[in-house]
């Protein structure tokens, strides 16, 4: 029955194309694997308990750690979330509820533009708006720059997640005598919550590694500081300063800081993955 046999030419094309796809898939993941491998190889050797507990050592002196930078990054990301998340989530819900309103169309467009804005520009913006009036660098200005960077991503993912909620659910709520506002608050948002949290975590992971917006806002600090009003250390800044410095042990510290930063970002991404899985199985289908 020759009619049911694939022609040799077609089979050859099939094999070739499959191989091509495999090659593309490997090429796409290879950089990540190489980076992780390299980081592990170079970072682990200089990573010790002191890295997590000590302040940076003065130049020329051995040892020291990046405790202030780790805590600084956590403070910066926390501060950024404190105002970036509510604004972003609020705007996203607004966009989903008022799809075609002129203001919604404008906000959506601006969010997309803002999303593509180079992060260094966001740094200048925060510098002009916060650092200049305050007359000094501060954690506050760094958190402001990072928070502003979160807003467009969070806005758009929230909008998408809220839109995925079937309109039949909001109709059912309206038919029960819910107001629009109550419907959004009690039915739509809880149903979309897992997706909204995922979007927020992805945005967190993205800004945690940002360096440019912090260069002339948070500025970095070699000493211990928890104050929002003073310059503060951050892992990306520490990496930047150490990697460009003249000392070998600084370079080693930079590798270690990179490893910690990547681990932090991976952890947040994993959390996001987990939130999606556990949420969506009982949420939107």
């Amino acid at each position: 029955m020759t009619a049911f046999r694939t022609s040799p030419r077609r089979r050859a094309i099939n094999v070739f194309m499959t191989a091509l796809m495999w090659a593309a898939a490997v090429a796409a993941t290879l950089p990540l694997v190489l980076i992780l491998f390299n980081l592990l190889a170079k970072g682990v050797t200089s990573l010790d308990l002191a890295f997590f507990t000590h302040l940076p050592a003065p130049p020329g002196q051995e040892g020291g750690g990046a405790a202030n930078a780790i805590v600084g990054t956590v403070i910066l990301v926390g501060g950024a979330s404190a105002f970036g998340l509510p604004i972003g989530i609020g705007a996203g819900i607004y966009l989903a509820e008022r799809k075609g309103a002129p203001l919604a169309v404008l906000v959506r467009f601006l969010a997309d533009v803002l999303n593509g804005l180079p992060s260094i520009v966001m740094g200048i913006f925060a510098w002009e708006l916060v650092v200049v009036p305050m007359h000094h660098f501060s954690a506050l200005s760094g958190a402001f720059a990072l928070g502003a960077m979160m807003i467009p991503t969070v806005t758009r993912t929230t909008e998408e997640m809220v839109r995925v909620v079937p309109t039949t659910l909001s109709e059912a709520a309206l038919a029960l005598g819910y107001t629009r506002w109550r419907t959004a608050l009690r039915i739509v948002i809880p149903t979309a919550l897992a997706g909204i949290i995922t979007g927020a975590l992805v945005a967190l992971a993205r800004i945690a590694g940002e360096t440019a917006p912090l260069l002339f806002t948070a500025f970095g600090n070699n000493f211990w500081s928890l104050s929002l009003n003073k310059p503060i250390a951050a892992l990306p800044l520490q990496i930047f300063n150490y990697a460009t410095g003249p000392y070998d042990d600084w370079h080693a510290q930079a590798w270690a800081a990179s490893l910690v930063l990547i681990a932090l970002v991976l952890l947040i991404s994993l959390l996001a993955r987990f939130a999606t899985r556990s949420g969506f199985s009982r949420g939107v289908e």
Partner: protein
């Protein structure tokens, strides 16, 4: 015109005379639009208390739109408009100053697909409307009301041991009865069912139909259906819609045996639609 009857249709046995019972709802010259599309044209209808009114007709005939004008859900869609009067127990729900949200509180609605709220438990779903009632200052025993609603929707025995479980664990048919329970828990003056069995299997469909038949003793029901047999089984009066117009409104046993309009006859004998 030969008198016709639909094969396989068993007409609800008890006789029904429109005009016996007082009207729960009175629709007067109702028109509904989507933008420039005139979806419902000049419909007037009397819906007696403790009765089931079926609305049949081919897809796109305006029957669902008509149903949605009865609890002011139609206007939640952009560009939708309504003219005419709908009197619920003598009160025009389209009168100026009437709050559509509070109208919907008094009229229950169940949709084509089950709309159990996914983030809520079974109990939470039935109680979903209570917040609105309590905000209005009503006082009542929630648990008792939940049990009563679930019993009336014939779901109590199936869910009484897992009230705290997610409503999504229920089958499609159970979810639909849960939605009916949710509506009943609000103690509605009128219950609107928009093709409630369209997405259900035959056994679940039968359960929902039995339920509608039961409910007729206690409340007033309007049911939109694609299925003429269903209309015949559950309703006392049936309206036939075509191209946005109400062609005929007759007692169900008459419309399926002696339709007055030849378009009705053509539809119920399966010549179109």
């Amino acid at each position: 015109m030969a008198s016709s009857s639909v094969p396989g249709v068993v007409v609800a046995s008890e006789g029904f005379a429109a005009g016996d019972a007082p009207a729960r709802m009175e629709v007067r010259s109702l028109n509904a639009y989507f933008g420039k599309v005139h979806a419902v044209r000049d419909v007037s209808m009397r819906i007696p208390e403790h009765s089931v009114t079926a609305i049949i007709g081919p897809s796109g005939c305006g029957k669902s739109t008509f149903l949605r004008t009865l609890n002011r859900m139609h206007e939640t869609v952009p560009t939708a408009m309504v003219s005419g009067e709908v009197l619920l127990d003598g009160q025009n729900i389209y009168a100026p100053g009437v709050d559509p949200v509070s109208v919907r509180r008094h009229i229950g609605m169940v949709f084509q697909r089950p709309t159990a709220f996914p983030t809520m438990s079974i109990r939470g779903n039935v109680a979903a409307g209570f917040g609105v009632l309590r905000a209005k200052g009503e006082k009542f025993d929630g648990d008792e009301r939940i049990e009563q609603a679930l019993r009336r929707s014939a779901l109590w025995d199936e869910v009484k041991d897992r009230l705290e479980d997610s409503a999504l664990g229920l089958s499609g048919g159970q979810q639909q009865r849960l939605c009916i329970a949710r509506a009943l828990a609000m103690d509605p003056q009128l219950l609107l069912l928009d093709e409630p069995t369209a997405s259900l299997d035959p056994i679940s469909t039968e359960k929902v139909e039995d339920l509608v038949h039961q409910l007729r003793r206690e409340i007033t029901v309007v049911i939109v259906t694609h299925n003429m047999q269903q209309a015949a089984r559950v309703s006392g009066q049936t309206a036939f819609f075509l191209h946005g117009e109400m062609v005929e409104l007759s007692p169900t046993n008459e419309i399926f045996t002696r339709p007055r309009d030849e378009r009705t006859e053509a539809y119920i004998t399966g010549r179109f639609g």
